[in-house]
């Protein structure tokens, strides 16, 4: 049996005045790259710290390969952590940092030396044994922290925003490296991040957390394309939100009214009736020239602003319904035929529209 399955059962952590984690249930099979994604204060780090053993749960279970470890002290759990700021021991060099865990298990000297060497090769830092952590760059420290955790061959590797302190370019490179590394070693990675792009890029599956609870669990594509809640739609990238009334709902789609305009949607939750929100991703909004043939799911609008972001152009369009929608047009080198202040026709394709229940307030 592959080791490294984590199961959280109604896990709760209450601090003096706040419930950080509010009864979450989660099942991560062995060998998966799983991310906990959410804004700061959503409970993702507390969840990770409970799995690592630094915080004791108020109630609930943490099953590691079927055994409840919720009350096992951290040094007796076969999980290892890559800390946000790496926490490399400043008084030890790279070799001794990585060997620290092996020496606690009283391994023979030769084995320690060999395994540290292998771990350093794994993170492409061969030859750095004698360096002090202060002599390493941020990216190198991150690799040492990774090697220090992986050398113990843990069942689960916990990563607490490990790329947070690095610059954008290095972060992108390390994202791909981390994912490749995870596939190579086959260990369960539990990755905590507030960066939605990071979570989407690397994870097999991810959970979006908010206010101590899990909003949605799924593969990156499902969570991005089919957000189940407004929070998820909003947190995962930019979303255009519009107030709408669901007119009729059927299994193959529904009709919604937005300020007098009727739109078709496909494959949405048919349970929603009455007041709702509709969501559309900016890259799915299509712009047509004013006067183009009308059709279903088209709205007149006015270009408010063009924002050049390099690989694309964001076009803010004030729709006739009153909302300002954002459209993302890929930069292909061709001139954008829309100018600020000119009328335009918006096309919101039926399969790009999601109907979500309006928040109860």
């Amino acid at each position: 049996m592959a080791r490294g399955e984590i199961e959280l059962v109604t896990l709760t952590k209450e601090f003096a005045d706040v419930t950080a984690v509010d009864g979450i249930n989660l099942d991560v099979p062995a060998g998966e790259f799983f991310s906990l994604l959410g804004p700061s204060g959503c409970g993702k780090t507390t969840t990770l710290r409970m799995i690592a053993g630094f915080e004791q749960p108020t109630s609930g279970q943490i099953l590691l390969d079927g055994t409840d470890v919720a009350y096992t002290p951290p040094h007796q759990r076969s999980v290892n952590t890559v800390f946000q700021n790496y926490a490399l021991f400043p008084h030890l060099n790279v070799f001794d940092n990585i060997a620290f865990g092996l020496r606690r298990t009283k391994r023979p000297k030769d084995e320690v030396k060999q395994r540290v060497g292998e771990a350093l090769e794994l993170v492409q830092l061969g030859g750095y044994e004698k360096r002090k952590s202060s002599q390493l760059s941020g990216g190198q420290q991150q690799r040492v922290a990774l090697a220090r955790a992986l050398v113990l061959n843990p069942a689960v590797l916990l990563l607490d925003e490990p790329l947070g302190a690095l610059d954008a370019k290095l972060r992108k490179a390390l994202q791909i490296e981390l994912k490749a590394l995870q596939q190579e070693v086959g260990i369960t990675f539990l990755y905590v991040t507030h960066d939605q792009e990071e979570a989407l890029t690397m994870s097999d599956r991810l959970a979006v957390m908010n206010g101590g609870q899990i909003e949605q669990i799924g593969a990156p594509r499902d969570v991005y394309e089919d957000p189940e809640t407004l929070f998820v739609a909003d947190f995962l990238g930019v979303s255009n939100l519009m107030d709408a009334q669901v007119v009729s709902a059927a299994a193959d789609g529904c009709r919604v009214a937005v300020d007098g305009f009727e739109l078709e949607t496909r494959g949405s939750d048919t349970a929603v009736m009455g007041a709702a929100k509709i969501v559309v991703r900016p890259e799915r909004v299509e712009l047509e020239e004013h006067g183009a043939p009308e059709g279903p799911n088209r709205l007149p609008g006015m270009v408010e602003r063009l924002v050049y972001v390099g690989s694309a152009v964001q076009i803010m369009v004030r729709a006739a319904t009153g909302e300002t929608l954002q459209a993302l047009v890929q930069n292909t080198g061709a001139a954008i035929p829309f100018d600020q202040g000119t009328p335009v026709q918006l096309h919101l394709p039926a399969d790009a529209l999601r109907v979500l229940p309006a928040p109860a307030d």
Binding site: N80, A87, F89, L152
Partner: protein, 303 residues
Amino acid sequence: MAENRRAAQFSPLTRARGWLRNPWGRPRFLVVVTWAYVLWSIVPVLIAVQFSFNATRSRTIWQGFSTRWYWGDPVDSVWHDPTLRHALVQSFKLAGADVIVAVPIGVLLALGLARWHGRGAGTSNFIMLFPLVTPEIVMGVSLLLIFTQVFTIVGTGTFAQLLGHVTFSISYVVVIVRGRLFSIGRQYEEAAADLGASPAVALTRVLLPLLTPAIVASAAVVFAISADDFVISSWLSSGGGTDTVPIRIYSATRAAPLPSVNAIATIMMIVTLLSVTLGFLTWRAFTRDERGQKTDDLGALGL
């Protein structure tokens, strides 16, 4: 060039004013004040040191260099006058014992107080600072009362003096070590636990090595303040054999002082300076790898 020509037309007065008011210039006024203060505080000490090398019995008229007041004079030099020599021994004995007793206790207290978050933690943290602000004379009198009326087994003398010194020294150790503990944070202990170290191993393999600079620095500070102490040593002294250097200097200057008093003061000053310098250098050496990332917590204490 047009700018230069216009600048040349300013009157000398305007230019002098501009030089004084130049906000980009060096802070000359502050430099002057700083050096004036340094001179003011150090010149009396230097003069005292100078007269410890005087060739005659005068402490005010310079009559040539000699080391007679250190060891040359067969009767009145520090080396040959038994009261002075004994005071020196007593001071260093007390300071050394104080370091040996107060530093371990202080480190343990700091660890406890920094990790204790329950009820009473705030109060005890605050009370730890009391010895730093209590007037020494108050503490001296209280200790004397306790040692002579309540715990009469202690009485007065070397042991009572040691207990007194330990009492006020511990606070310094706690403050310095706790400052370091806070700047280290919990992350290294957590990392150690994560890598399989039991709390005891985390303490000896990670926390104590990281605390070494603070421990050495606090030992130096404790040594220095213990050697300097007059009030408490004096209250708890049982006379004669338990007089420390400051007590000796005090009583000598009230009678007919000789330059040997300057000599013994100079010796004390140099030893104290050495211990503090040693502590400071150790701190620097141990934290060299960390500096730049964190603020220097010893600097934050103003030490």
